[in-house]
């Protein structure tokens, strides 16, 4: 799905929507395909100015090796952890039936 391969297809948008668990109708597929094209086109311009000797950047801050000592810190209680959950049972988060995949 490289940016310079031209227009992003409806099929690609439909695939992305499925991966993101978004319900997208036919009309929206057209809209999003056009919009994503514009976004990818804008990002692709970076490639025009970045020479081969400039490595890709993944982080805005030029740091490495930021570590934490292996020391315990107080977290949340079970009650606090579950307080934002729509449903809980037996001290656990309750989620709807999981379909399709099994890990």
């Amino acid at each position: 799905m490289s940016a310079d391969s031209g227009a992003i297809t409806r099929a690609e948008v439909a695939h992305l929507a499925r991966l993101a668990r978004l319900a997208v109708n036919d009309q929206e597929l057209d809209v999003f395909a056009d919009q994503l094209d514009v976004i990818l086109g804008a990002v692709a311009r970076v490639g025009e100015v970045a020479a081969d000797d400039i490595p890709p950047t993944s982080h805005a801050v030029p740091l490495s090796n930021v570590f934490r000592p292996d020391e315990r810190r107080a977290g949340l209680t079970q009650e606090q952890a579950l307080s934002g959950a729509p449903a809980a049972e037996e001290g656990r988060f309750r989620v709807p039936q999981i379909l399709g995949e099994e890990e």
Partner: protein, 504 residues
């Protein structure tokens, strides 16, 4: 162990080997035994109440930011070095995106194309002493997922479940994934090679002290990839990945079963489906899970909340200096030092006793006593409890201390076994047990003399026999004294005192 001939679709093992070459690949996930999780300060203890070892970071709450656990990176580098890997001078974490509630963030923080360790090897010894070199592709850092409990439906499995319950205590526990390259050319020994590799890796990780490596508790998990090529064709077949392989024996069974199953599919003219399969412990078979090609679109991208890890040469060399004597080096040394035959050595290794004995010797115990404790009394205790020797709740240092107490005369052999029982029962270190149970040998002559005099007075006829020169009669008096002191006296000293006091 081969499947019954009547089962349709399975091929006799000998025929599989005659017609196909198996190609193995093994992925092992190992949970590190750090105090805290990979990216937050939550504890990693096994078996805590659900959702009591969680915080905003590992629950993926908005605004929470991860910070890498230095000890986990050190363990990862040490594992890489012990596996003869190159350590990457620079690498990033990546997000593996998927929708499944075992990670509350909707992604798992992992390493993708920049693993911390690459291109190593592990020499694996088979039961008959043959050595197979297994090439290591990579070892990378990631985090473990939460635990799901599927409720409703008949099987407790995901299909038919009405809903699921999630415990995130395990989510974020540091995990190292170790992946082999393809292991070709193992022929009929493929199942044995697979088991031997996982065994060797477990022993290595244990000696590094980086993990509990308990397959029964899930702190070490093996996924077995297998494909079959038509014999001598060199053409790779389609592979399956078998998960839920929870013991060393299951590794061997799973490979063997997949060989016979895939051969059946191929000889029937059908293609082997590329998929994840689940090993069924009870039947020794595998059943299909999800299909690979639809599930593998994880849209990895570099983790923006973490900065790169760039281990300096000095740091790597410093960690290399902390590598302990590795299991195979130890075996070689111990074999020479204890003057063992190949067979004796292999018996100790297979009993899981060798490393424990060597560790006990390293704590200062003589090798003969150390061997004796681990292969007899402790082996019996392990057997009775149905656990592996290494899983007994007693350390080599504890055993060495007990041996020391016997050597110094503070414990008799009988008392020493009671002390070991106490340690196994969770009563503390040997010295604590001695104190709490009052087990020390009565070495105070004053107390012993009193007991000896009482015993002599209680059996005047025996005393007279001794005085008449029948020294062997002293045994009855020694026995009475030992009984009176509840076995806590040194029998040799008691005997000396009896002979001394009888004429007093």
């Amino acid at each position: 162990m081969s499947a019954p001939a009547s089962t349709p679709g399975l091929v006799d093992y000998d025929e599989v080997v005659e017609r196909f070459d198996p190609v193995l690949g093994i992925e092992v996930h190992v949970e590190l035994n750090t105090n805290t999780k990979m990216f937050c300060g939550c504890p990693t203890d096994f078996g805590a109440e659900p959702n009591t070892q969680v915080c905003p970071v590992c629950l993926g709450l908005p605004g929470a930011l991860p910070v890498v656990n230095r000890a986990a990176v050190e363990s990862a580098i040490r594992i890489g070095l012990a596996l003869n890997c190159s350590i990457a001078p620079w690498g990033r974490f990546a997000r593996k995106n998927y929708f499944y509630p075992d990670m509350p963030k909707n992604f798992q923080t992992s390493q993708y194309d920049e693993p911390i360790a690459v291109n190593g090897w592990l020499d694996v010894e088979l039961d008959d002493g043959e050595v197979v070199r297994v090439e290591i592709e990579r070892a990378h850092m990631e985090e473990d997922t939460g635990k799901s409990l599927h409720v409703g439906g008949a099987t407790g499995r995901i299909h038919g479940a009405e809903y699921s319950l999630l415990d995130y205590n395990r989510a974020g526990v540091p995990l190292i994934e170790i992946v082999t390259k393809m292991i070709p050319g193992t022929r009929e020994r493929a199942p044995e090679v697979a088991r031997a590799y996982v065994t060797a890796l477990r022993d290595l990780l244990r000696s590094l002290g980086v993990s509990d490596v308990r397959m029964d508790q899930g702190s070490m998990r093996a996924d077995v990839n297998l494909s079959l090529s038509p014999r001598d064709s060199g053409v790779l077949g389609t592979r399956t990945e078998t998960k839920n392989v929870n013991s060393l024996r299951s590794v061997e069974r799973a490979v063997r079963y997949e060989m016979t199953r895939q051969a059946g599919v191929l000889l029937d003219g059908g293609p082997v489906v590329q998929e994840t399969r689940h090993f069924e412990e009870a039947s020794g078979t595998t059943r299909p899970g999800r299909r690979k090609e639809t599930a593998e679109d994880y849209r990895y991208f570099p983790e923006p909340d973490l900065v790169p890890i760039a281990p300096s040469q000095e740091w790597v060399e410093e960690l290399r200096g902390t590598l302990p004597e590795l299991p195979w080096e130890r075996r070689k040394r111990v074999k020479a030092e204890w003057d063992l035959s190949d067979e004796e050595l292999r018996d100790l290794v297979n009993a899981g006793a060798l490393d424990l004995i060597a560790a006990t010797v390293a704590e200062g115990a003589p090798s003969g006593e150390a061997r004796s404790w681990w292969v007899s009394y402790l082996a019996q205790q392990a057997n009775t409890r149905g656990v592996e020797l290494a899983a007994l709740p007693i350390s080599p240092a504890d055993v060495a201390r007990v041996i020391e107490l016997v050597a110094s005369g503070e414990l008799t052999n009988k008392l020493a076994r009671q002390v070991v029982d106490g340690v196994l029962a969770g009563e503390g270190a040997p010295d604590d047990v001695v104190k709490a149970r009052g087990l020390a040998v009565v070495s105070d002559d004053g107390a012993l003399i009193t007991a000896v005099d009482e015993a002599l007075a209680g059996q005047p006829d025996v005393a007279q026999k001794i005085r008449d020169g029948k020294v062997q009669a002293a045994g009855a008096i020694v026995g009475a004294v030992m009984k009176a002191t509840k076995g806590q006296a040194d029998a040799k000293r008691v005997r000396e005192l009896v002979l001394e006091r009888v004429n007093a």
